[in-house]
Structure formats: C-alpha cells, structure tokens
C-alpha cells in the first residue's frame, strides 16, 4: 500500500524551540486526514513541511512516495495548498489570480483559461471574474483560495485552517465544496481547531499539542474511546451531587461551577440527578469531538 504522505519521526526545531516533536502519521489515498490542536500546537509547522515550504529538522517525510528534500519540485507541482493567511494577489483580478497562478505551474494558457472558468463556476464566482479580489467578502476570498489551489488538478489538497474567521453560512458553503472534492476521490490534509469541521470532514485525525501526537484515529472511535456516548453537564453542582458522583465511581471533570460526567447510556443516571440534585441547568447530550479535545489538551488558555 502506497501512502500519499508518510511521516516518521518528523521534527522541526526553531532556535532550540521544538515546534514539532518527532511525530509519525500516514495519509492514505482518497481520505481526508485532520491535524487538530490548539493554537501553537504545531499544526501549521507540520503542513508547511509537507508542502515543501519549511525544511524539516529531523525524521523522514515522503509525499507520493518521493523524498520531499530531493523531489520537492515534482511533489509541489502535484499539491494544492490553501494557506492560513490570505495570499490572494490584490494587484490582480479574480480571474487573473487563477491564470497567473497557473503559470507558476507551467500550465499552458489555453488549458489554464478553461480550468479557471470551470473553477470559478465551482466556487460560484463566475459572475465576479473581473472583480478585484479586495472587493470580495471573507467567504468569497476563502473560496477563491480554494479554487486557486485546485488550478493544477492536485493529487493532494492541503488546507490550513480553511474556515477560521468565516460566518456559519460561508463555512457551510466551503465544507460543501470540500465534500464534493472528497467524493471525487481527492486526498485532503486539513488542519483545524474547529471540532465540528473535523468531525464532518475527516475520515481519520490526530490531535496534537506541544508538537506531539496525543491520539490518532477515526473521529467516532475517538469519542467512544475517550468520552463515551453521552455527556451530562450540570451548572453549579451541589456538594451532595459531587459526593454522589464520586460514590458511583463515574468518570467526570469538576470545573468548579460546572460538572461534566462522561460515560455510556446515562438516561437513568440523568433522571436520577435531575430529580434529586438539579437546581439550575442540567443537560444530557451526545458526546462530541470537542469533549475529547478539551479532555486531552486541557481547558486552560494556550497563549
């Protein structure tokens, strides 16, 4: 089985600070692989090494079975990248952004024109082709960055926090496009700190913090394994409730003004707590990836 990305002991150090600390991961053809983590966890540094922007400090990194150090040019010509920062060319129009980018890949102009047309249609911007990119909304710009990253028909699409700062409509618009691309068989590497995004798009993911992988797996498996099926959240828990939960030996987190209980099939327990201890807010809900994330990476601020 040939991997699209194969990272072993991948390490990146900046002046003594270790941003990525010997991580291993593999990405299969046709899957969407997520790298999740809080700000500063090493997500962007990792993908930058994969798309040949940052040289690695140690470890091995193969993309399409080729060594990134030796074959960077042929690897880069087969990758599409949506960088985190808006790097659309403000000196050029919407369509020119695509055409000029196509030239960087040595795509003949006739072919580029055709492809640009097709992509503008794909991101529903065909009627804005001669607009300045600075006139576009945040969501349109993100879609443009996506379109630009597809100009070379990539075999691997890399998305670095693609929906950060977008409103819900724009996020869903973008997700829909990504799902279409996924359905078409495109391999995707995605970084995000939005758990709903990861749960919706990723087939497999890793959660990293301080440059190390904490867990790896399929989103649902990770939820089941680390949190369970359901979560009970209780606002302002009474001391008697704390004692009760402790006595049952349940897995829980005590945040002071809020108690979070993890586990399986809590219906009866929930009614029990509801009837006997609940004074204010008490909810039973499905466990999510966010519970896993917070449980593993901690609740304190990261920066």
């Amino acid at each position: 089985m040939q991997y699209i990305i194969e990272a072993e002991g991948l390490t990146k150090k900046f002046d003594g600070f270790t941003a990525v600390d010997g991580i291993n991961f593999h990405v299969f053809a046709g899957e969407c692989f997520g790298i999740l983590g809080p700000n500063g966890a090493g997500k962007t540094t990792t993908v930058r090494m994969v798309y040949g922007f940052s040289p690695k400090t140690a470890g091995t990194l193969n993309v399409f079975g080729l060594d990134i150090e030796k074959d960077w040019r042929s690897i880069k010509s087969r990758i599409g990248v949506c960088q985190q920062e808006n790097s659309l060319d403000p000196d050029l129009s919407v369509e020119q952004n695509l055409l000029v980018f196509a030239r960087y890949f040595d795509i003949p102009s006739g072919r580029a024109r055709e492809k640009a047309q097709q992509l503008l249609h794909f991101i529903s911007l065909d009627n804005r082709r001669s607009a300045k990119v600075t006139e576009l909304s945040g969501g349109m710009m993100r879609r443009m960055i996506l379109a630009r990253s597809l100009i070379n028909d990539p075999d691997l699409l890399i998305l670095d926090e693609p929906t950060t700062g977008l409103d819900p409509q724009a996020r869903h618009q973008l997700w829909q496009r990504l799902e279409e691309l996924k359905a078409g068989g495109l391999t995707i590497l995605l970084t995000t700190h939005y758990m709903d995004e990861a749960a919706r798009l990723c087939d497999r993911l890793v959660i990293i913090d301080h440059g190390k992988i904490l867990v790896a797996g399929k989103p649902l498996d990770l939820i089941r394994e680390h949190v369970g099926h359901n979560v009970i959240e209780i606002d302002d828990p009474a001391e008697s409730l704390r004692a009760y939960v402790k006595s049952l030996g349940l897995e829980y987190e005590d945040l002071g003004h809020r108690l979070i209980i993890y586990g399986q099939g809590k219906d009866e327990l929930f009614h029990e707590i509801g009837d006997r201890y609940c004074t204010g807010g008490c909810i039973l809900r499905m466990a999510t990836l966010e519970d896993v994330f917070l449980k593993l990476t901690g609740r304190e601020l990261k920066e």
Partner: protein, 263 residues
C-alpha cells in the same frame, strides 16, 4: 540554518517576471508618466535655469553645454531609481504585506527563482524608463546615435546591479520605513556625488577616490559617453564594475531572502 533545498534557478523565474508584467499592463498608463515628465522638469530647472548661470563646462577636454552634460545623468539616475525602488519598496510590499512570495512558495517555484524574477523585473522597469526618457531627451538633440542605442542594454546591466543591491536591503530590513536608511546613506549621496550634476574632478582628491567606488559614478560615465558618441576601451572597466556589483549582491540577496522567508 541548514540549506535544505539546494540553490536552484530554472527558467521558471520568468513566471515571476510575467506576474509583475501582468500587473504593470494594468497600470502602464500611469507608470509611463514619471519617466516622460521627470526629464522635462529636470531639463527645464537645471538645464535652462541653472545652466544659464553655469554656461558651458569642459568634459574630457571638450566644451559641452550644461544641458547636454546633465541629460545623460538623468537617465543614469532613472536607471538606478527604477530598479532600486522596485526591489525595495515594491518587492517588500509583495513579500511582507501581500504575501505574494508565500503563495508562490506553495507552487513549484523556488525562493531563488522568485528573487531572480523580481530583480530581472526591476531591471526591466529601468529599461522601460530609459527608452521613454531617451525618446524625450532625443527630441532636444542631446543624444548621439547610433551609440545612444547602447544605453538600452546598459540600462539592463545597471538595473540588475542596483536591483540586487535593493533586494539585499529587502532581505535585511525589518520594516518598510527602514528603507530610509540605505536611501539616505547610499542613494542620495550617489545622486549628488557621482558626476551627475558636476564633474567628479571638481571634488577634492579623496572624495574623487570615494566616488570611484560608487556604482552610479560608472553608470553616469557610461551613459554620458554613449550620449556623446565618445566610446573608448576604458569604458569596459566601468561596465565590469557594474557587473561585479551585481555578482556580489545577487548571491547576498538570495542568501538573505532565503533566511528571511524559509523557516
């Protein structure tokens, strides 16, 4: 820091040049104006205004009018300014504010190709400006032909020399405002003391020696000689000096820009 990707410059750097040319095509009408009017302003102010006070002066043993003395210098200064400002302010905006280089680095372009394309583009702007100025100044009968045509390829040589210098500063300057420093320390003194507005022979001996190290001194000398149709073998030394200047600052610019952008 390890040099990971070995220095590689393929002809793909033209893609970077093309990007800048595409942008230029959108604004060429405005870009045409300065090289068209600047020489007219200078010729009017210095040639007619100041020239009336100065009268004729002696250049290489022959009397020349002040107007014909400074006209070639204006072309030389324009060659310097076009590429130096393109590869400082304009390149810095593309690199730092517009993230244009970051986007390019996610494509098969190498950092060396991006920087090479930028410098060649800066030199191209020097050539475009020179062609326009030559046309304007020729109307006054101040350029000797056909030797004057050699000023066009010379503009390219001067352009890459000053462009590489500018790009080196772009590689090391922390903020765009800091370009004031190299301009104050290098560009302004060169503008004044490179035999532009008066012959360097008028300077004290020590200052003449210093002036010989300024690349603009050599560029002015070359443009002036070609304008006068006075070509002699020693001019090759001046051309060689400009080439040497490029050969020193081009690799320095590549090293500094790689350190700055590749992390």
């Amino acid at each position: 820091m390890s040099i990971l990707f070995s220095v590689s410059i393929s002809k793909r750097f033209w893609r970077v040049w093309q990007r800048n040319f595409t942008v230029y095509q959108k604004i060429w009408k405005i870009s045409f104006v300065p090289p068209l009017f600047e020489p007219l302003f200078y010729l009017l102010a210095f040639g007619l205004g100041l020239g009336a006070l100065v009268g004729n002066l002696t250049y290489q043993g022959a009397p020349v009018s002040y107007l014909s003395f400074i006209a070639p210098a204006l072309i030389a200064v324009n060659i310097m300014n076009n590429s130096f400002f393109e590869n400082t302010y304009a390149s810095f905006v593309r690199m730092y504010h517009q993230k244009t280089f970051d986007a390019m680095l996610a494509t098969p372009l190498s950092i060396e190709e991006i920087i090479t394309g930028e410098i060649i583009w800066g030199a191209t702007k020097s050539v475009i400006g020179t062609v326009i100025m030559l046309a304007v100044i020729s109307l006054f009968g101040l350029i000797h032909y056909p030797s004057g045509l050699l000023i066009i390829p010379l503009a390219f040589l001067g352009g890459i020399a000053f462009g590489a210098l500018g790009m080196y500063f772009t590689g090391i300057t922390p903020t765009i405002d800091m370009f004031n420093l190299p301009i104050f320390l290098f560009i302004t003194p060169m503008f004044l003391f490179s035999g532009t507005f008066f012959p360097i022979e008028n300077l004290p001996a020590w200052a003449q020696t210093v002036a010989l190290f300024l690349p603009l001194t050599h560029l002015v000398k070359l443009v002036r000689s070609l304008s006068f149709g006075a070509i002699y073998p020693a001019l090759l030394w001046s051309a060689a000096y400009l080439l040497l200047f490029f050969l020193v600052f081009f690799p320095l610019a590549l090293i500094k820009m790689r350190r700055r952008l590749i992390k």
